[in-house]
Amino acid sequence: MSEEIFHISLNKRNEIELEIPSEDRQSLGTLIEQLTEFLDPELNESKRLFPTAYPNDPERDAGYQALAQSEMIDQKTESIRLFQKTLMNTILTIEEAETWMRVLNDIRLVIGTRLDISQESKSNKKDFELEFLYENLSYLTSAFVEVLDRSLPNS
């Protein structure tokens, strides 16, 4: 993936137009397939996908997680399915584009956790290939944020 070839814009019909080369879409498809394997709260890389709600109260947190975790897994599974279904689309609705943004960010959360990204967004583990991927995903996520922000009524 290289950043120069992405183009994401909001058209007059309030739809998102997506210019992403098909080989890059295929790479995204592979990543998304891999994300399904991380929809497991027990995995270390997945801890950012299933955060604690009551860090100082394990009992309350267990109560929250008992309800939230399975719902969260369902929600993320649904998002992944929608992403896969629209992977080759050149036009997305606002809702579909937001799903793309969330899924892309979920992948960043997993990769960022694996890279042990610290406060300055610098990786503590050297893996140039994964860092490159993380940077590109950040760029793509960022482009989605910018265009979706313009679609909000409070912008």
């Binding site: 950012r48 996908l49 299933f50 955060p51 604690t52 709600a53 009551y54 860090p55 929250y64 939230a68 719902e71 969260m72 929600q75 937001e98 943004m101 969330r102 960010n105 979920d106 960043r108 959360l109 960022g112 956790t113 990204i117 610290s118 406060q119 300055e120 967004s121 950040s138 996520t141 960022s142 944020v145 910018e146 979706l148 922000d149 909000l152 409070n154 912008s155």
Partner: protein, 102 residues
Amino acid sequence: MGHVTSPVEIEITEPLTIENTELGIEEPWAVIVWDDPINLMHYVTYVFKKIFGFPDAKANKLMLDVHEKGRASVFIGDKLEAEKYVYKLHGFGLWATLEQNK
């Protein structure tokens, strides 16, 4: 047989205690969003605008509080509503927790 209304038996399995909650005076819960190195700054602003409907300036200020002070309180209210917001924030991958003023 006359119309005698028999008393309804109520089985009490747990001792009845009146908590502050029931009197409506429970201390409110705060939703705290914590700084994290992965979520992009404008992504966090977008999420605040989307979930809470905050105007741009308020969402941006809260995001900067998160970034610079390490945390920001984004909602104060009853526990159920606070948990609902925490769940929504978690759905966007933000690091949100609940805290009660005691």
